[in-house]
């Protein structure tokens, strides 16, 4: 198993003191689903937003440590963040479609990356919609405003939008928190397909989802990584008392 992402001693504190990470060490294998779970405020989203440097938009008081993706430190000031974000796609909790057509949402990133050829763009639209299990529903209405899609479809469009850039890693921050069970099932099924090609890092919206989807699981509590291991063993036989208490619903 090759480690795609290696996090070394990562610490971070926001300027407003809200959430923080303390001394995180974590190796995330490629082509698998790794879930980061735990109660709110544990630092899961913060960690995700470090991986594509989206935290650059937030005021961070202090940070230390390294995040190696394919051996290169992402936090290095020399890192080309634009290239990084194309390589590390992200899906947010609330489906945010850009105020463009369905096609426009999908080609947005590619056009910014300088792709002008219509054939390449069309190819990317079809490929990414198929991967996100939205092609059948959307193929006849690609030029409709994306907002006309249902909530579940919008979230799959957001997934497709990050796939269109052919990233290596996909970050998903509670992608199904606003979705009904059927839509949630579709997204989860898509993830199981996608993990054959992509490294997936998921913050699930429930322990159950963590259990269902994970190959590997990391339990976060108040900015610390409590336990990390294969999903099967972590959810059936957790080593840490706090992990067990959380999984069994004693707190959180």
């Amino acid at each position: 198993m090759v480690d795609k992402v290696v996090i070394e001693n990562l610490s971070l504190q926001y300027a407003d003191g809200t959430e923080s990470l303390r001394g995180i060490n974590l190796s995330i294998p490629e082509k698998a689903v790794t879930v980061l779970f735990g109660p709110a405020g544990g630092g899961k989203s913060t960690l995700l937003r470090c991986l594509n440097r989206l935290n650059d938009l937030t005021e961070v008081k202090a940070s230390a440590g390294r995040i190696l993706i394919d051996g290169k430190d992402v936090l290095d000031p020399q890192t080309d963040v634009i290239a990084l974000r194309r390589k590390v796609g992200m899906v947010f909790a609330r489906p945010v479609v850009l105020p463009l057509s369905i096609r426009g949402n999908l080609t947005y990133g590619l056009e910014l990356a300088g792709e002008k050829r219509r054939s390449k763009l069309d190819e990317a639209v079809e490929r990414s919609l198929k991967l996100a299990a939205l092609w059948e529903e959307a193929k006849d209405r690609l030029d409709d405003p994306a907002i006309a899609l249902s909530g579940g479809q919008q979230q799959r469009l957001c997934l497709a939008r990050s796939l269109a850039l052919q990233p290596d890693i996909i970050l998903l921050d509670e992608p199904t928190s606003g979705l009904d069970p059927i839509s949630t099932g579709k997204v989860e099924a898509a993830l199981q397909e996608l993990k054959k090609e992509y490294t997936i890092i998921l913050v699930p919206h429930s322990v159950q989802q963590a259990g269902r989807t994970s190959d590997y699981a990391a339990f976060f509590l108040q900015g610390e990584l409590i336990e990390y291991g294969e999903g099967k063993s972590l959810f059936t036989a957790p080593k840490e008392k706090r992990t067990e208490d959380y999984i069994t619903g004693r707190f959180g």
């Binding site: 974000r85 850009l98 105020p99 910014l112 990050s162």
Partner: protein
């Protein structure tokens, strides 16, 4: 006595509502009255010659073409300076500036700029543009003066409409590998454009109707020909109206009201365009 109280309350409520409703309608009355009055008084003066001819007989006869053209020149001139500057400032304040003492000072300055009486702008324009920069009494100096007066309106409405674009659009765009500027240009500006345009038109509309700022900086009492360059002075509708209403004895009253009508139509048309843009954008908005 106890039993009568609820009825009294009910009556009081109705009276109150009626009073408030009447007051709401009363606010519409002045604008309707002004428009109707000016229409009745001014319409007889309107003719092709009035709109396309030069004034003659000491402005007591003829048309007001140079004033119409002059007002168009001044409005366009004002737009040339104030629109790019105002939008750029709004983008800076909304998208780039963080909350520092400097940006707070800029904001306070803009708010205060909006409160300065227009005649003070006129005097300032005379000092800076006409005399110090030696532009003379000219379209250029008047446009620059009007621009300064218009800027606060444009900046504050543009900033407000930029801020109303959901933050999530920016985050998503950045996460897809866009730079800040690409995000602003492709998503934020596009969404904020109707609001910005509305502010621009409202600002320019104010500029078109003002007399005081152009009084010392660019307005001419009477010109026998149209201005040729930005360094020429020009006639303008509001100033012309002031002149023929106060400075010319034995002035036929229809010409005054005719001029007022043309100015009113000019300004209200701009207002109408702004309203149409705004309501169409609202209907189309996707968030």
């Amino acid at each position: 006595m106890k039993g009568a109280l609820p009825i009294n309350r009910h009556v009081a409520q109705r009276v109150g509502f009626t009073a408030i409703t009447l007051m709401a309608f009363a606010t519409v009355l002045p604008i309707v009255a002004v428009v109707i009055y000016i229409l009745i008084q001014g319409l007889p003066a309107i003719s092709l010659e009035f709109l396309t001819g030069f004034p003659h007989d000491g402005m007591r006869a003829g048309g007001i073409l140079p004033a119409i053209i002059g007002t168009i020149y001044l409005t366009v001139g004002t737009a040339i300076f104030s629109v790019p500057l105002g939008i750029a400032a709004a983008i800076y304040l909304s998208e780039y500036a963080s909350d520092t003492p400097l940006t707070r000072t800029i904001r306070i300055a803009i708010i205060n700029l909006a409160g300065i009486p227009s005649v003070v702008y006129g005097l300032f324009g005379l000092g800076l543009f006409v005399l110090f920069l030696n532009f003379g009494t000219s379209i250029l100096a008047a446009s620059l003066t009007l621009s300064i007066m218009t800027l606060p309106v444009i900046i504050s409405t543009a900033e407000e409409s930029l801020r109303s674009v959901p933050q999530a659009f920016r985050t998503v765009s950045i996460s897809l590998g866009a730079t800040r500027w690409q995000t602003i240009r492709r998503i934020v500006l596009k969404e904020a454009l109707p609001g910005i345009l509305t502010g621009v038109i409202l600002g320019l509309e104010r500029a078109a109707g003002e007399t005081a700022p152009i009084l010392f900086t660019g307005a001419a009492f009477f010109l026998p020909r149209l201005p040729h360059t930005p360094f020429d002075a020009t006639m303008a509708l509001p100033y012309h109206l002031f002149v023929i209403s106060t400075q010319v004895p034995e002035m036929p009253i229809q010409i005054q009201y005719g001029t007022a009508l043309v100015l009113l139509v000019f300004v209200l048309t701009m207002n109408l365009i702004a309203t149409v843009i705004r309501s169409r954008a609202r209907a189309k908005r996707q968030w």
